[in-house]
C-alpha cells in the first residue's frame, strides 16, 4: 500500500529573504502546486527555535517529507537533517536573492525564480523515498587479505593486528620479507640520518609469525576472488595445487615490484662485463660478505666504484622506464657508504642528473655522504666498456661541459623498479554495439599479458586498474588510497615508486582504509566520496533489456552480470555516483532518494511561461561537488546570472539520464546547460569516468534536437571546476544569450 505523503514546507525569511521575496506567495505555491500539507514561514529557521518548530510539527502533523526553503543545501547541512524523513532544500538564498539585483524591475522574475524552486523542491520531496540500508551485507567478515609478504604486507598485518583485526598474508614465494630481505642495510629512518641502518626485517617477520591474528600462506597465490567488501571470498592456492576458499572483509594488494631488466642496457655492457652490476646485486654481495664487497670477477680489490643513476630510467628510449623510481639516489648514497665503511680510501663516484633525495631524511643523508667523501658528479654516462681488468666509463661532465672518461673497478647501475600490477582491465576498452554485444576490435591487441594477482571475478576485469606507467590505481592527490575497486587498496611500490620508510607508512594507511570499508559496509554505508550514503542502486528487472550499458560503464566495476545478462549490483562495491542510472536507456535503475523520477519531476514542475511571455527557461544540471559549490560561491560574491535559470544539483554528471534532456526540451525549456568536472587523463571527476560518460552520451543528443527541429546550441555540456566562481555564472549567461539569439522553444505546453 502506498504511504500517504505528507510534506511539510518551511520557508525561511531570514538573511534578507523576507525583504526580497513574498513568502505568502511561496506558501501558496507550496500548498497549491507543491501539494504540501503543511506550510510555515520562519524568520530564522536554522535557529534552535526554527528546528524545534520543524521537529514539533513532524510529530503533531505526522510529516514524512520536508522542504526547507532558505539557504543552499551545502549550508547548515547537519542542522536540517531529520531522522528518517526525506528532505529537499529549495535554494532561495544563494540560488535566488544573492544572484539577482535588488530592484523593482527584477523583482517579478526573482520571485518567479523562488516560486519555481519551491515547486521543484516539493516535487523532489514527494518523489524521494526514505533510504533504508542495504540488507546485502547482513553477515560480514572482518579479516583482511594481504597479497604480498614483503615489508608492506608484514607492516600491514602487524598494524592491523594492533588495531584488533585479523589478517592473512598470501606470499607467492617460499619466504617472507620480499625485496628488503635481500638488503644488507637500509637507508636511515631515524635522525640524524647519517648512516645506513639494519633493516630489522627479521624482527618484523618474527613478529608477524608469532602473532595469532596473522595467518601466513607461503608459496601461495590468490587464484580467485569474488564478492564485495565485507564478503569477499578468495581461493588461496598452494604451489602444490591445494586450494581453499576463505572469507575476507577487505583486500590490500602490496605485491611490490620487479627489478628493471638491466640486460637490455647494452651501452653499459651489463651482459658482457662481470664487474657491471645492478644495485640489487651489490646488496646481495654486501649481505653475503657482511659488508665486505668483493669484485664480482674475483680479480683484485675495488679501488674505484662508479654509480650510474637513472640507468634505463627517466628515458624515452624504447623499453626504458619513463619515470623515476624514487629510491635509487638514496640507495646509491647508502651503497657508496658500504665502501667507505670498508675502506675510506675507496673512491666512490655517483653520476647523476638530478640527485633526488627530498625531505628531511634525504638531504641529511646526502650531506652525510658528502662528508664521508663520496663524489657526486652531474654527468651523463654515454657508455661503459671493458678495459683490460678495468672498466672504462665515458661520460659528459655537465659541470665542466666536456666529454671525458674514468677508469673503474666496479660499475653499479641504478636500474629502478617495475610495478607487479596485474593486467589492466582497461588496457583494451570494451565497446558495445547497438544491441549491447561487445565489439571485437582486431586493431586493439591485448597489450597486457601479465599474470593476474587478484583473479577478480568482476565484469570489468581481473585486477585493479592502472593509473600510469603500469602502477595500480590510486587517486592521485587528495585521496591516495581510492582505487576504482572498492575495498581493495594498493600499498607500497605497486602503486607508486617509494622507499622503505614511505612503504611502511603507506601500508599502515592502507590498513586504516581496509578497516573503514569493513566497518562501513557492515552498516550499508558508502565509501568515499559519498561516505556514509545509505542509498544504493535498485533496478526493476521487468523493464531491463539486458543491454549491459550499466555493467560496462560503472566506473568502479561494481556491477556483474548474471548468465542472462541482467545486472547484479554489489552494493558494497558501489560508490553511489549514479553513472549506471545515467547509462540506462530504459530508466529501470534508481536510488531511493535520487532517481530519474526525482529529477524529472523537478524539471516538469517548473512553471513554463507561454512562448510569447518572453521568459525563457534554462535548465542547469550541475555536479554537486564542483559546479554547484562554484555557483554558491558566486552567489556569495553577488555575481549575478539570469533569472531564467533553474539549477538542479546532480550526484555526478554521469548520472544524467538522456531522458531528462529530451523531456526538458519537449516540455519547453529553451536551453540546457550541463556542468561536470574535467575529463580525460587529468580528470577531476571524483567518480573517475562519470563526467566523461556524460559528455559521450550528450554528444548523441543532437539526434533528439534534430528530430524536434531545435538548434543544437540549446544544449551545452561544460567542464566546470569548483574554482570557476566567475566562469560558472558566465556559462549560464552565455546560454541566455543563445536563447535570445535562436529564439524561444516552440514546444511549450
Amino acid at each position: 500500500m502506498a504511504e500517504e505523503i505528507k510534506t511539510g514546507c518551511y520557508i525561511c525569511t531570514g538573511c534578507g529573504i523576507g525583504e526580497r521575496l513574498d513568502d505568502k506567495q511561496m506558501q501558496t505555491i507550496a500548498t497549491r502546486d507543491g501539494k504540501a500539507k503543511f506550510v510555515k514561514s520562519h524568520q530564522f529557521l536554522c535557529s534552535d527555535d526554527g528546528v524545534k518548530t520543524i521537529n514539533d510539527d513532524i510529530k503533531s502533523e505526522q510529516l514524512n517529507r520536508l522542504v526547507i526553503a532558505g539557504c543552499s543545501r551545502r549550508a547548515k547541512m547537519n542542522t536540517f537533517e531529520f531522522d528518517n524523513i526525506p528532505t529537499s532544500r529549495a535554494n532561495i538564498r544563494e540560488g535566488v536573492i544573492w544572484v539577482r539585483p535588488d530592484n523593482d524591475e527584477s523583482s517579478e522574475t526573482t520571485q518567479e525564480m523562488a516560486n519555481d524552486y519551491i515547486r521543484m523542491a516539493c516535487a523532489e520531496a514527494r518523489t524521494m523515498k526514505q533510504v533504508a540500508p542495504s540488507e546485502e551485507q547482513s553477515t560480514i567478515n572482518k579479516n583482511i587479505l594481504i597479497v604480498g609478504g614483503g615489508i608492506a604486507g608484514l607492516t600491514a598485518a602487524i598494524e592491523a593486528s594492533k588495531a584488533g583485526y585479523q589478517s592473512s598474508i598470501v606470499e607467492k614465494s617460499g619466504k617472507l620479507g620480499g625485496f628488503v630481505a635481500n638488503l644488507y642495510k637500509s637507508i636511515p629512518h631515524k635522525s640524524p640520518y647519517n648512516e645506513p641502518q639494519e633493516t630489522q626485517i627479521e624482527n618484523l617477520i618474527k613478529t608477524a609469525e608469532d602473532d595469532r591474528n596473522i595467518t601466513i600462506y607461503l608459496d601461495s597465490i590468490v587464484s580467485k576472488t569474488e564478492g564485495a567488501p565485507g564478503r569477499f571470498e578468495a581461493d588461496i592456492t598452494k604451489e602444490s595445487g591445494a586450494s581453499k576458499t576463505h572469507k575476507f572483509g577487505a583486500i590490500i594488494q602490496n605485491n611490490g615490484f620487479t627489478q628493471f631488466d638491466a640486460n637490455i642496457l647494452d651501452e653499459f655492457s651489463y651482459k658482457t662485463q662481470k664487474n657491471v652490476i645492478t644495485q640489487s646485486e651489490l646488496e646481495s654481495i654486501a649481505k653475503k660478505g657482511k659488508g665486505k664487497i668483493q669484485k664480482p670477477d674475483g680479480k683484485g680489490e675495488i679501488k674505484t666504484a662508479v654509480f650510474i643513476q637513472c640507468a634505463g630510467q627517466r628515458s624515452d628510449k624504447e623499453n626504458h622506464l619513463s619515470y623515476c623510481s624514487g629510491f635509487c639516489c638514496s640507495t646509491s648514497i647508502k651503497q657508496a657508504m658500504y665502501f667507505k665503511e670498508q675502506n675510506p680510501d675507496i673512491d666512490t663516484i655517483i653520476m647523476y642528473d638530478d640527485l633526488r633525495v627530498p625531505g628531511v631524511a634525504g638531504e641529511d643523508f646526502y650531506r652525510a655522504g658528502q662528508k664521508k667523501g663520496i663524489v657526486f658528479s652531474k654527468a651523463k654516462v654515454s657508455q661503459v666498456t671493458g678495459d683490460g681488468d678495468n672498466l672504462k666509463v665515458e661520460f659528459k661532465d655537465l659541470i665542466l661541459d666536456e666529454d671525458t672518461a674514468i677508469s673503474a673497478d666496479l660499475v653499479v647501475l641504478a636500474t629502478g623498479l617495475v610495478a607487479n600490477s596485474g593486467p589492466d582491465p582497461y588496457a583494451t576498452p570494451i565497446e558495445l554495439d547497438a544491441d549491447g554485444k561487445e565489439i571485437e576490435n582486431p586493431e586493439v591487441q591485448k597489450i597486457d599479458v601479465t599474470e593476474s594477482v587478484l583473479n577478480l571475478q568482476y565484469r570489468q576485469g581481473t585486477d585493479l586498474p592502472h593509473l600510469k606507467n603500469g602502477f595500480t590505481d590510486s587517486h592521485f592527490i587528495c585521496f591516495p588510497y581510492e582505487t576504482r575497486r572498492t575495498g581493495i587498496y594498493a600499498a607500497g611500490p605497486v602503486r607508486r615508486p617509494m622507499d622503505i620508510l614511505q612503504t611502511k607508512d603507506d601500508a599502515t594507511g592502507a590498513v586504516m582504509r581496509a578497516i573503514s570499508v569493513i566497518e562501513n559496509s557492515n552498516k550499508g554505508r558508502a565509501q568515499f566520496p559519498r561516505s556514509g550514503d545509505l542509498s544504493f542502486p535498485e533496478f526493476r528487472k521487468e523493464g531491463c533489456t539486458q543491454c549491459k550499458r550499466c555493467t560496462v560503464e560503472c566506473p568502479f566495476g561494481a556491477i556483474n552480470e548474471d548468465e542472462k545478462g541482467y545486472p547484479i549490483f554489489n552494493e558494497a562495491r558501489c560508490r553511489r555516483c549514479g553513472t549506471c542510472m545515467g547509462a540506462c536507456p530504459v530508466r529501470v535503475i534508481s536510488f531511493a532518494n535520487y532517481s530519474v523520477e526525482t529529477v524529472n519531476q523537478q524539471i516538469k514542475n517548473c512553471d513554463m511561461p507561454d512562448e510569447f511571455d518572453e521568459k525563457p527557461r534554462i535548465l542547469v544540471l550541475a555536479c554537486e561537488n564542483d559546479a554547484y559549490p562554484a555557483l554558491d560561491m558566486a552567489a556569495q560574491n553577488r555575481i549575478e546570472y539570469s533569472a531564467y535559470a533553474r539549477i538542479i544539483p546532480v550526484r555526478c554528471l554521469g548520472s544524467t539520464s538522456v531522458s531528462w534532456i529530451t523531456d526538458a526540451l519537449n516540455s519547453g525549456y529553451d536551453g540546457i546547460v550541463m556542468m561536470g568536472c574535467k575529463k580525460g587523463d587529468d580528470y577531476q571527476c571524483h567518480f573517475v569516468k562519470g563526467s566523461e560518460m556524460a559528455h559521450e552520451r550528450m554528444a548523441k543528443v543532437g539526434d533528439t534536437l534534430e528530430s524536434l527541429q531545435l538548434e543544437s546550441e540549446r544544449v551545452a555540456v561544460h567542464e566546470v571546476a569548483i574554482s570557476d566562481i566567475q566562469t560558472a555564472p558566465a556559462l549560464i549567461e552565455d546560454m541566455a544569450k543563445v536563447v535570445e539569439k535562436v529564439g524561444m522553444n516552440p514546444f511549450k505546453f
Binding site: M77, Q502, P629
Partner: protein, 421 residues
C-alpha cells in the same frame, strides 16, 4: 562543547592532514576533536590555487572532506584554538586548550550583513597580507565553519557596536573572552603543518626591498580569481603584465644559513607555476634556477612535459644575489650557471622565490621525551607513546604524501583507542 573521554582522539591542526586523520578515525565511529589555530579548517591547501601535477583545484577535495565532516557527528571542531599544555601518557592525556574569541557564535548564517556595515580594514592573512579585508570577514568563500570573524581591533569601537547591531540573528557577541578548556584524550595526532619560510630573511634576494620579488605562496594567491589581483598575473610594482618570470629554487631550503632540509614540494610547485605564466601569456617565459629538479617518481612525466616547452628554461645555479634595475624596477638575478661556468646578470619582470617549508609546531608545549629532530619535525617512534605526527609535522611532504601519512597516523591513534576498551 566537546565531550572528551579516554576514547577520544585529539587532532591538533585542521589542514589537509588533520582533516584526513579526523575523517578516517570518525568514519569508523571514533570520537574526534579537531582543533585549529585559524578561524577555518583547510590550512595551507586552501590557499593554493592549483595542485601539481594535475593542475586541479584544492577546493574540490576540500569540499568533499568538508561534506564528510559536516555529516559526521563524531567530529567536534574547535577553531581559533591552540594547545597550551599536554600532560599524561598513552590512553590518558590531559590537554589544555586555549580558544581565542571569534566574537561570532554558532548562530551565524554567513549572510554577510556584518561585513556590509564594517568600515575599517585589516590585513588579509588568507592572502598573505597582499591586500586588505573588512574587520568583519569570512576568511575565504568556501571557509568552513561557514561563519564570519570579527577582528579584535573593532571590538571596543563604535564600529564594533554597529557590526553587532547589524546582525539580525544575534550571532555577534562582543563580550566573548579567551577561554580555556581541559580535555582528557586517549591519543593525540599532531597535524600542525608548516609555514612558508620567511623570504625576508634571505637578505641577498631582497624580498623585503624589491616589489617585484615575491614568494611562491604569494604567487598562488595572486593567481586565484578571488585573490588580491583578481587572478591577474601582474607585477606588484606597477601592475604591468609579468611575462618574463624567474623562479629561484631552494630559497631558504638546502641551505646551512636557513633550512638545512630539502622542502620537497618546491620543485614541483615551480614546475606547476610556470604553467600559470605560459597559460596566461602566449609570449610568456619562465626561467628556473635550480640545484636539482626533484620531480621524484611519477612526477617525472610532469617535469618532462614542462622541460619540453620552448618557453621554459632550466639553469643549474644557486642564485648569488638579486638586485633591482632602478629605471624599470626589474629584478636582476646574479650568479654563475654551473653547467659550463658562465656568469650571468639576467633581468626579469618578476621573480618568484620558491620558499621552503618550516615546521609550524610549537615544540615547547610537548613533553620532553617526544622525539623532535634537529629540523623541528616530530619523528614518529615508540617513545612518543600515544602521540603521532601526521603530514608536514612529520616531514616536508606534498599533499598526497601528507594524506598518506595522516591516514597512517589515524590508524595508530585508533590502535590506542581500541586497546583501551
Amino acid at each position: 562543547m566537546a565531550i572528551a573521554t579516554n576514547q577520544t582522539i585529539l587532532i591538533v591542526g585542521g589542514g589537509i592532514s588533520g582533516m584526513t586523520a579526523a575523517i578516517e578515525a570518525a568514519e569508523i565511529g571514533k570520537n574526534v576533536i579537531l582543533i585549529e589555530k585559524r578561524p577555518f579548517i583547510g590550512g595551507r591547501v586552501s590557499q593554493i590555487y592549483k595542485y601539481f601535477p594535475k593542475l586541479c583545484f584544492p577546493t574540490c577535495g576540500l569540499e568533499i572532506n568538508q561534506k564528510r565532516i559536516k555529516q559526521n557527528s563524531g567530529i567536534n571542531i574547535l577553531t581559533m584554538s591552540q594547545v597550551a599544555s599536554v600532560t599524561g601518557s598513552t590512553g590518558d592525556y590531559e590537554v589544555v586548550i586555549k580558544t581565542s574569541p571569534r566574537y561570532i557564535n554558532e548562530k551565524c548564517t554567513a549572510c554577510g550583513d556584518c561585513a556590509t556595515v564594517a568600515t575599517s580594514e585589516i590585513d588579509n592573512e588568507f592572502n598573505y597580507n597582499l591586500n586588505k579585508t573588512k574587520s568583519a570577514y569570512l576568511p575565504y568563500s568556501n571557509a568552513y565553519p561557514q561563519r564570519y570573524v570579527i577582528d579584535e581591533s573593532v571590538i571596543k569601537t563604535d564600529e564594533g557596536k554597529k557590526i553587532a547591531d547589524s546582525c539580525k540573528v544575534g550571532a555577534v557577541d562582543l563580550s566573548m573572552q579567551e577561554s580555556e578548556t581541559t580535555l582528557k584524550v586517549a591519543s593525540i595526532i599532531w597535524a600542525t603543518g608548516w609555514q612558508p619560510f620567511d623570504a625576508d630573511k634571505i637578505q641577498p634576494y631582497g624580498h623585503d626591498r624589491f616589489d617585484n620579488v615575491i614568494s611562491s605562496v604569494e604567487f598562488e594567491r595572486m593567481m586565484d580569481p578571488m585573490g588580491p589581483t583578481s587572478g591577474k598575473l601582474v607585477r606588484p610594482s606597477d601592475g604591468r603584465d609579468a611575462k618574463n618570470v624567474a623562479f629561484v629554487q631552494c630559497a631558504g631550503s638546502r641551505d646551512h644559513n636557513y633550512l638545512k632540509h630539502c622542502s620537497r614540494i618546491c620543485c614541483m610547485a615551480t614546475l606547476k607555476q610556470t604553467t600559470y605564466i605560459t597559460d596566461t601569456y602566449e609570449d610568456g617565459k619562465a626561467d628556473i634556477y635550480y640545484i636539482d629538479i626533484r620531480a621524484i617518481d611519477r612526477f617525472e612525466d610532469f617535469y618532462q612535459k614542462i622541460k619540453n616547452k620552448d618557453n621554459v628554461n632550466f639553469i643549474k645555479s644557486k642564485v648569488a644575489s638579486i638586485t633591482e634595475d632602478k629605471k624599470n624596477k626589474n629584478p636582476v638575478l646574479n650568479g654563475v650557471d654551473t653547467e659550463g661556468y658562465h656568469r650571468y646578470a639576467n633581468s626579469y619582470d618578476m621573480v618568484v622565490l620558491a620558499v621552503g617549508m618550516q615546521p609550524a609546531m610549537d615544540t615547547s608545549i610537548l613533553p620532553k621525551d617526544i622525539t623532535i629532530n634537529e629540523h623541528g619535525f616530530m619523528e614518529n617512534n615508540d617513545n612518543n607513546g600515544g602521540m603521532f605526527a601526521a603530514g608536514c609535522a612529520a616531514d616536508a611532504l606534498d599533499v598526497n604524501r601528507s594524506v598518506q601519512s595522516a591516514t597512517a597516523a589515524a590508524l595508530k591513534a585508533v590502535q590506542v583507542v581500541n586497546s583501551q576498551s
